[in-house]
Subunit: 482 residues, 2 copies
Amino acid sequence: MSKRNLTLLTDLYELTMMQGYYKEKDMNETAVFDMFFRSNPNKNAYSICAGLAQVIDYINNLHFDNEDIAYLKSTGLFKEAFLEYLKSFKFTGDIYAIPEGSLIFPKEPVVKVIAPLMQAQLVETAILNIINHQSLIATKAARVVHSARGDKVLEFGLRRAQGPDAGIYGARAAVIGGCAATSNVLAGQLFNIPVSGTHAHSWIMSFPDELSAFRAYAKLYPNSCTLLVDTYDTLESGVPNAIKVFSEMKASGMKLQNYGIRLDSGDLAYLSKKARIILDDAGFEDAFISASNDLDEYLIDSLKQQGAKIHLWGVGTSMITSRDCPAFGGVYKLAAIYDKNQCAFVPKIKISENTEKVTNPGNKKIYRIYHKDNHKIIADLICLEDEIVDINEELVLFDPNETWKKTMLFPGSYTVKEILVPVFKKGKCIYDSPAVMDIQAYCRQELDTLWDESKRLAYPHKIHVDLSQKLWNMRVDLLSKY
Amino acid sequence: MSKRNLTLLTDLYELTMMQGYYKEKDMNETAVFDMFFRSNPNKNAYSICAGLAQVIDYINNLHFDNEDIAYLKSTGLFKEAFLEYLKSFKFTGDIYAIPEGSLIFPKEPVVKVIAPLMQAQLVETAILNIINHQSLIATKAARVVHSARGDKVLEFGLRRAQGPDAGIYGARAAVIGGCAATSNVLAGQLFNIPVSGTHAHSWIMSFPDELSAFRAYAKLYPNSCTLLVDTYDTLESGVPNAIKVFSEMKASGMKLQNYGIRLDSGDLAYLSKKARIILDDAGFEDAFISASNDLDEYLIDSLKQQGAKIHLWGVGTSMITSRDCPAFGGVYKLAAIYDKNQCAFVPKIKISENTEKVTNPGNKKIYRIYHKDNHKIIADLICLEDEIVDINEELVLFDPNETWKKTMLFPGSYTVKEILVPVFKKGKCIYDSPAVMDIQAYCRQELDTLWDESKRLAYPHKIHVDLSQKLWNMRVDLLSKY
């Protein structure tokens, strides 16, 4: 993404509004926009944020080429003065974000943009596109990896991804969410993440018979020899032929390691148990059994419960598209506008008949609150930017909707962390994105801050996201004004 | 996509297999691979193919850069001789495809690659990725457009698309499927398709009040003035303020055209009917009412049935992700290998316990068969490459599974068209991709070849895809061999 000019990757209305701000308002008026989401995908109790590195690339590259200007002119919607202004357009604002691989929860700002109104408006669509996509896949991957109970999960979805980027950045996000490797070579090259893969049915079919195909493969890749055993008949042909080849390798004095079979069709529980017995009886107890074929977290969980003898899972379509919930519902809403006369941000609120859709006004920050003893999350607390939580004081949390539900935290019983970090200051990036494998390790730590009850696949225990008293008051005041 | 090197956009196993073919087989052995799919998405009776122009770009650009070679070397999987060979790798084969915007049906080759085995293997993943994605969205869009019964549908999904490409090529595919325009400016620039958009809630919220926001917008865009009326209260505030502004425009002597309101929340049936009455009573009978808010083909169909007064539909998440079916199940299977000794293609078949997954062997072509009188499709007939259907002869079609079900077509009662066209010959592209709006027009003609019963949203009438007697015999012979 770093080489592509994605400046026009925006909805037309961002540009028509920009021209409006340019002509009808003080174009330097500073606004605060929050990117947040309203509910976790897949009825999960948490989400994993991802995509910030690509947002940084996008912002750093933001500029209107001559051909962009010419194109905008050709639409007939834009005046010369505005197009002239766009020629020297650059992003000069501040951006705060929750680091990639972090747990994120509904209603809290994942990205906060503080910038001149028209700049903040332009970047809305691309920020949403990038963060929505990668957070969706990272969250799905975390669920799939959780269902595999410590086994490795491989991302195999490129051919079913929604276009090249969905494959490339989807693989990145899947690795952040916990996948051990991807089949996607370009993603491996771009992000320095492990790549994995063996052969397809076409390899087997291109040889006169299965045995010679297996032999040829084993000769070439003796140290990573996974044989696909289901082209003709898994138990009658595939597994016996694989054992023949493994035996030949052994007989030739080779030390077998990192070898095994892959099942890609049929009843994976039954076939894996049978194959395990046949392999063990032949003395190949350390041959692994991997499986693929339209897997998702529910199928893996069920296979685990059935005692399937599979310890390596290749997951494609369901993970790369987040099939049961293919969109992350991130939105980007105006939260405040700076008033020069008042020298302060004036909070803004979006009203809706649907209470769930009413926004949180003001320039905000987020404290994550942990149990001091076990470092599990108690809640997230959204505050106004000037508020400070002092861990030496008592902290009262209350449910923002059912306000009588209160929790009192005593000094010394909790720790806190501010989770929005500065990424851009006055248009300059001041944040170093970690390597993807480091983000993965961080994500694993993050998942450790959840109780198991919040990680289960169905009806997980929800994490509270509360508002400070000051923010809650501001919200109620604004609501009652309308 | 034309400027990007997507050569490594492939699964690792394509490359490990390539090295295998390179070392263990005659690397110039020619293979036939078919890209086809097993069932239509969304329980539809048809699919629309799209993405060929991007496949052409991909094939034309196929080459391994020095940095690609260096990366592959770093994996430790590839030998020097093979890496050296990759340096001068190019595609030298033939590709046939069904043109974009065409109706396509399960089991028939949408793309056919005839090339040296290793070349045909490399391109598998990218071809699947591109065709699967765009065909998925074009098909979904055709359903959505059908549900709108002649009203215009606008593609608004960029922010929820699965990454930049999903937004860009998804918009392209949605327009092929019948959308009148997209909000995605980059897609507009790249493909010369209409762009559309007005303003967001943030525009309204950035002004002291709704009325001044409307006035400012109308002043700037008098000829495309769509006012978003649901920021505060649709019927009490939004619509009356819009009418105030329309009246002021009229009073100033302006001839109002292409103007109206947009509803983005609440009960769209109720609100649109009420708003229509209020607008009509104020003398703005020609003001249009557009709507958005998580629409899909079922919601639009229901709103139409309820008599909603909406004639312009903005569709986002559900269309750009094909939410109820986010993957098109295209696969790519070996169908034949050329045998120099026999001077002929030897058919190959993939066996499966699941009969649905058994492939059609051989080098094939497809005839589409139409009723002569009304040009509606009777069936598709998959034949071997050397077969010819002569419309002056009787044609007997039979169901390939329930072979006693036969249809006899008399000479003069039907017409035929071969639907796979040559795209590459010996590595050279010989096909000119039409402009996207021309593909859209072609797609509309294609949809006219379906009976209405095959276009309905639920339980549509299926189209038959039959096999010629010769192909059917070949398939049964190969199956009984195993």
